[in-house]
Subunit: 147 residues, 2 copies
Amino acid sequence: MYLSNSLSTLELLKKNKIKATPQRIAIYNMLVNTKQHPSVDIIYKSLKKDFPSMSLATIYKTVDMFKEAGLIQELKDASSTNRYDANIQPHPHLICIKCNRIDDLEMDLPFSEDIISTINDTTNYTILYSQICLYGYCPDCKMKERK
Amino acid sequence: MYLSNSLSTLELLKKNKIKATPQRIAIYNMLVNTKQHPSVDIIYKSLKKDFPSMSLATIYKTVDMFKEAGLIQELKDASSTNRYDANIQPHPHLICIKCNRIDDLEMDLPFSEDIISTINDTTNYTILYSQICLYGYCPDCKMKERK
DNA sequence: CTGAGTGCAAAACATTTGCACTTGT
DNA sequence: ACAAGTGCAAATGTTTTGCACTCAG
């Protein structure tokens, strides 16, 4: 089971001082068990069967809270819709500009801590996190596409 | 003048088989003359004095067409609003998560052609372009922020 | 002259908000 | 018990669309 060697979702939320409601546990579990980088709407549809009355607003509030707590990361697909990832390790994303599918790229991050420090020094920004997005056609859309 | 050594906007549009309307010329000129990565709304407000009847829809259609033609690049600020840049050289962006200001980072792109080829081969994606976004506080917001 | 472009208003979405009701601790 | 969370509906903000009018080539 996915939690065998780690905290249960309940414990994780408590550890982060987040009140553990069934909805929040379900949302986190869904995110941690998929590689699909789901949108709020996908989360909503996916949990609909277990929580028929769950509202989109709850999911928006929840993912926002998880993001603030650093439990998940937010990214945007090619059409700008927010997508969520329970893998909080910075890692490049492959984004299909046709179907909006998002995959992870297994690769080292080009921005080391050193580089971030240099950027902070030279630009006067305070960089907190970075994202690398590679846009193009996914394997499926590549075949259908002729341009 | 900014065009002294290059094509006029009129010529550039014609070269790209884009019908050169006054609106399109004005939008492109505005983008090429700023480092601010403006949003559609900013472009709209900025051109309002010269084109009082210009509509937002025209600007949306125009930037989309320019993007498809490869004349500008689109990026998204921290709140997801689309922003535009007439500098089509891939370059990392610094994005303020408080005021949504976007600056360019003068730095080499970590993704060389070689790396893109490798990614294309190993992932079966066809990568067309990439974006590197560094999120944090800009110099102005850094000072105001206390957290 | 004619198809492409523009402006307007309405529509379509994604996301946020206010508030009464419910629930975890 | 009570502050915090949820669900609903309405509001907001951005982007898209349909269509009659206009204009660049």
